[in-house]
Subunit: 473 residues, 2 copies
């Protein structure tokens, strides 16, 4: 017999089926036992009556404990009226087992799977992530993330976007955060860098005439961990468009997420349709933050208050932490990033009063959190040069972007984009406060993976091949 | 007026439209000029008649050269019978321009865009990849790759698969090839490794009860370049399934690619339906290779001869190059990888005659190239231990996989999978011999990116933060 999923059994009352999965729980009632069997699709109650079982199965029956892997053959029965379990999708049925096979046994897990009380520490949960992901809540989060990815890909391809993968082994440039470096074995003394974002590649793809690019892009920043960020790597829904005004970029993004929420999260409601487009100065004045929580009822987990913030200043005052933006000694740091286009009417202010220049930056805010940022980009080399000067770039630093300035000589379209953060967006939609609850295998806050035990020491041979040594401390 | 794509103009004869794009070519006929305008969707002929243009446009007209970025307003006209251009999707129409705006000028590119004769070296093409990608052939390849990605994601999600992203910052393990290492700043002296494949994570996801996982997975191997492989990074359509027999894994994969070819490549035909499942020994004996080209007509670019090869030996003889598999001094190396499950009936031979053990490896062959490999996996710790012993693993090497053996204690389902190579599959479907023709920004054969100039030297501060120095040579 072919194994079917548990949810497929619901409409097979009276039929014999083969199910496979894990023992979620077991209850004994005299000689009879009830098992909740769990597979990818859900739970179902299996009734074990010794008289109904063959001999081998009868012998297996007493051994069965939680998290054993079973194959169960049995008849699908409608539950008696009053005995339905409304918490289960399959709560109207149960399986009367005729045959039972223990596919694999299980030791007692370090924390309970059936009854998640979050009693385990994050370290323990991550060390046994393969058990933690069995929790119904975690399984639902991971599925939901997959649904969001699929929706976005369908939507964007249907709107003339092309999915393009850009390099992971890229170049270290002074772009806003600290790079992860990858030593080159072939070219010793040189390094690749993992991309902080595909920023330069997507702009080059606009020069290439792609016009509408997107990618669910892995991004890497070697930053100290923050509460709302998973350390190391994260994913962006990275989009770039040519020949579009800022309002058109916002319209497209807004329509995509609005339709996604209606399709995937029908229980949620949007506070605003269309989403408000608020000026940065007004928002800061009114709310004291540029990420206001605009929900009418902040206790309501099903309320989604999306809003756009626009008309940002091009620059902030530079601080000592802004080393990666420039010299750390210059007066100005980019509010978004150094490729953000100033508003045309403010161009003269670049010379006289840079702090007053406004830009085509746009931030996407959801329930008081920033879930995406973007901008129209500079495509005029002279403006780019001026911005670099103002953030204190040296000639050497400018030289690292020479290829971009060169590319702009061969017919560059006006372009811009947005990069909603997948992890944060999904965590809000899933009702999770901690972003790591929607990542299958996140690093801990101390940038360490207790499951694989990474990072780890490597062999002498590996270091020698790279020509690397550690300085003694 | 809102800009429309060129292909949208085809059905608007008699209407005024606004198009934007690049000048693909220009021909003068006395006072009249013809421009082929190019956008993401194709080419269209634009007719410039000075008397029809406003004054500003008339002044712009003589300046226009190839690769300029233009906005063209004009009336869509049906071409006169006999003047249609059958090579263009828009060959039945032309645009009589009333207004012409030069959005951006272009210098003469280092190679021709309109007329690709492949006269440029690969180094020059990659240095100016943003121009190379303007070639019609390259734009088609990149679009085709996007179509394949979208098809696979839709198909697999519709078949109960969950898209799950696994970590890029992972652990170095002796898994078959050389790892790219990423030094940890926070934990100095330790390294992350970029994944050679998500092998261990996907097996852990099976322990987690995901049952059907997939991912378009970036994979990294620091190997010397080969003709049919792009150095550095590549993409797998990475799939793993629980509770499925080998034939079921092959069935699912075969149905997915068969339906994909019929939908996306209607001009192609499959040599076999269903695909033959051939035994390794028979194939090697008959064809002298385990990747036979089974096309009936090898000149026919539209013929696709998919075939499965199964019943591989579990081990090959180990060579000195197999260091990463084990000690390099042991007799045996895995034919597929060390997690491949031996056939049950051959288990006793592990003790007596390991060279005779067959496995649940399966290779997918297309037109004489391997486009994917996979296997059912070992889920019995004792068998895994035995395989490690036979390939010469030390206690320390085994210890690096301790988490996997630990995971197998908590209820592991039988599982297996396959990982078709996206780059190679798309290159064959695109009719390209060189895999780099279907990658937007590939590295050169010498593991170098001439566009970004990567790998590159980094600053003293960056190395100091990592505690790294180079040994003097």
């Amino acid at each position: 017999m072919k194994r079917i999923f548990i949810t497929e059994a619901i409409n097979k009352v009276g039929e014999e089926v083969l199910l496979k999965g894990w023992v979620n729980s077991r209850r004994n009632m005299g000689k009879i036992a009830f098992i909740d069997l769990r597979d990818k699709t859900g739970l179902v109650q299996v009734v074990l009556v010794p008289a109904e079982l063959d001999e081998v199965s009868r012998e297996a029956m007493p051994k069965i404990r939680p998290e054993f892997v079973l194959a169960v053959t049995g008849k699908v029965q409608a539950r008696k009226p009053g005995n339905e379990n409304k918490d289960l999708a399959s709560g109207t049925i149960e399986i009367l087992a005729s045959k039972l096979e223990i596919i694999n046994e299980a030791e007692t897990p370090p924390f309970e799977i059936d009854n998640e009380e979050r009693q385990a520490s994050e370290e323990l949960r991550l060390k046994y992530r393969y058990l933690d992901l069995r929790h119904e809540r975690m399984a639902r989060n991971i599925k939901l993330r997959s649904d969001v990815i699929r929706y976005v890909i369908d939507y964007l391809v249907d709107h003339n976007f092309t999915y393009i993968q850009t390099p992971m082994l890229s170049k270290s440039t002074p772009e806003g955060a600290r790079d992860y470096l990858v030593p080159s074995r072939v070219h010793q003394g040189k390094f690749f860098a993992l991309p902080q974002s595909p920023q330069q590649y997507k702009q080059l793809l606009m020069v290439a005439g792609v016009e509408r690019y997107f990618q669910i892009a892995p991004c890497f920043r070697d930053e100290d961990a923050r509460a709302d960020r998973s350390p190391g790597e994260f994913y962006q829904i990275d989009m770039e468009m040519s020949f579009m005004e800022q309002d058109e970029v916002l319209d497209l993004t807004e329509k995509m997420f609005t339709s996604m929420v209606k399709k995937l999260f029908p229980e949620k409601h949007l506070t605003f349709e269309p989403w408000p487009r608020l000026k940065h100065a007004d928002v800061v004045k009114k709310y004291g933050t540029d990420k206001p929580d605009l929900r009418k009822d902040k206790e309501n987990l099903n309320e989604l208050a999306f809003a756009w913030v626009v008309d940002f200043p091009l620059f902030n005052k530079q601080t000592a932490e802004d080393f990666f933006h420039g010299s750390g000694k210059s007066q100005w740091a980019p509010s978004h990033h150094m490729f953000t286009r100033p508003k045309e009417e403010d161009l003269p202010l670049l010379e006289t009063d840079p702090g007053k220049v406004h830009s085509y930056q746009h931030d996407l805010v959801l329930n008081g959190l920033e879930v995406g940022g973007g901008s129209l980009r500079i495509h005029d080399p002279k403006v780019q040069e001026k911005v670099w000067d103002l953030i204190g770039f040296t000639i050497e630093q400018k030289q690292q972007f020479a290829h971009l300035i060169e590319a702009f000589k061969y017919g560059v379209p006006p372009h811009g984009g947005i990069a909603p953060g997948l992890d944060r967006l999904v965590s809000i939609l899933a009702g999770e406060k901690n972003i790591r609850e929607v990542i299958a295998f996140p690093l801990m806050g101390d940038v360490r993976d207790p499951l694989m035990d990474a990072p780890s020491e490597v062999t002498k041979e590996q270091l020698e091949e790279l020509g690397l040594v550690y300085r003694s401390k």
